[in-house]
Amino acid sequence: MNFGLPAEPELGTTVLGPDDIQRALTRIAHEIVERAKGAADVVLLGVPTRGVPLAQRLAQRLAAIDAGFDPAAALGELDVTMYRDDLHRNPTRTIGVTRLPASGIDGRVVVLVDDVLFSGRTIRAALDAISDLGRPRAVRLACLVDRGHRELPIRPDFVGKNLPTSAAEHVQVRLAEIDGEDAVVISGRGGVDAGEER
């Protein structure tokens, strides 16, 4: 990864800049607290790769809103590789880390955090993974970008930006922690780039 280096020139349109992403996350954090009537029961689970830093950023904001919220005790990551329905159609995927807060997720309000919501299949896998890990009081979904084209009856509770796209386009979320900059980029409008299958 080009950590700290300037990002390589991207052929595409930047639809969200660093400030837009910060504002969207701040708004989502407030919506989470409002919906859960406080942040006490909230557990944030980031879906690798880019859901993990997004969940960390949301946790910092929740702590700023509600002083009783402990980011260390309410933050985790959830790898869904072994629950995917497309394993057999792709080359073998590397399994990521699943890490839950020490207190577990039973009875809590779990907020799944992902970067782009597309077909909904990743979230379907995440829901199955959660049911094997415990029984939360509720599961909610936060995503930075909802690009449509759902293939399953799944909808987000908290959205950074709704981004109408064609299925041939490629939506890329770039985050400072991983890519060295904050941006949401759409590319492949001509249908050259098939886009990441999600």
Partner: protein
């Protein structure tokens, strides 16, 4: 690579990928619900031509934890005892729709033959063959679980790398493998894999229990256990079982007496005390207590023998995942 036949076939990257996957599998095995849906609908056949309890149970557990269907086929009381050939057994399994065959055979090379003969699978629906021990040749999943256990203890915890040493190899570690090397496929696989991962290996055995040609292996040899323990200071000591059933002339053909073997090559309380403080004691099992390992050594807190069994399930889950989960047409099964 579509099969797991020999530890010598694994590159450093393959081996680390397997161990890292095993670390994630091990993490799932501490949960309340241990079963994962990953291999739902796939069929794994355990084809055992030789007695085995722990390896078969370990493979069976691993496959079931990944939701695969498991069929156990042992030679005793089956068509094999009526004289069926390996080829006909393979054709039968193929027509039953097996996706993977875990094979243990008394003949070295039987898994290779199964994998490369064309008896199993077609180009469109290949069948993965996993070697669960063949003759005195290879036992790759045992070597992988040993490497996993060593990495977890000596790279992850003591080495301060954290997270069970994920992503790391075994560079700089010293492993002594003691005992019946001649008949041991575990020793052969471990010499291959530990060398690939950057560890140094010394084989310690009486001259009669070292194979001809051992000087060409990627390891050192010694006839003197005490000198190796005190002079070389190994980080891990792996005791091998004295395989009396393979010593055709009775133990007398290779050893003057079990007592003499135990005195010169057994890991007793005194030798345990001579080990460095961080060193771990391993044994692939089943143990002959009082012969190659004393009860004090087997039950001491240095001993990771029980943990090796648990790690075996995680490593076999990783092998099954990497060989079976990916698409059959996708040319990416990079194990």
């Amino acid at each position: 690579m579509r099969h797991l036949l020999s530890a010598a076939d694994l590159s450093r990257e393959d081996a680390i990928r397997l161990l890292d996957t095993a670390a994630q599998m091990a993490a799932t095995q501490s949960r309340e619900i241990k079963k994962l849906p990953t291999l739902r609908g796939r069929t794994v056949v355990n084809l055992f031509f030789e007695d085995s309890t722990r390896t078969r149970i370990s493979f069976e557990t691993a496959a079931k934890r990944l939701s695969a269907d498991v069929i156990n086929f042992s030679a005793k009381g089956s068509s094999v005892s009526k004289g069926e050939s390996l080829k006909d057994t393979a054709l039968t399994l193929h027509s039953m729709g097996a996706d993977a065959v875990v094979v243990r055979h008394w003949a070295s090379g039987a898994p290779y033959q199964l994998a490369h003969s064309g008896w199993l699978g077609t180009v469109d629906s290949p069948v993965a063959v996993l070697n669960a021990g063949d003759g005195t040749h290879q036992h790759p999943t045992q070597a992988l679980l040993d490497a996993f256990t060593i990495r977890r203890h000596l790279v992850g915890r003591a080495g301060g790398a954290g997270r069970d040493g994920v992503g790391k190899d075994l560079t700089g570690l010293k492993v002594a493998i003691v005992g019946d090397v001649l008949h041991s496929r575990v020793a052969r696989s471990n010499v291959n894999l530990l060398h690939t991962l950057g560890a140094e290996v010394t084989l310690v055995a009486p001259p009669t229990l070292l194979p001809v040609g051992v000087e060409s292996w990627t390891c050192a040899t010694s006839y003197d256990l005490d000198a190796t323990l005190t002079g070389w200071c190994p980080d891990a000591v792996m005791m091998l079982r004295v395989q009396r059933e393979r010593m055709s002339g009775g133990s007398g053909a290779f050893l003057p007496s079990p007592q003499e073997y135990s005195r010169r090559y057994g890991l007793d309380k005194r030798r345990l005390g001579a080990l460095p403080d961080h060193a771990i004691v391993m044994h692939p099992g089943p143990m002959n207590r009082g012969l190659e390992i004393s009860a004090q050594a087997a039950d001491s807190d240095r001993s990771v023998i029980v943990e090796q069994v648990a790690n075996g399930v995680a490593v076999r889950m990783a092998a099954l995942y990497l060989l079976l989960a990916g698409g059959s047409s996708a040319e990416g099964t990079s194990l």
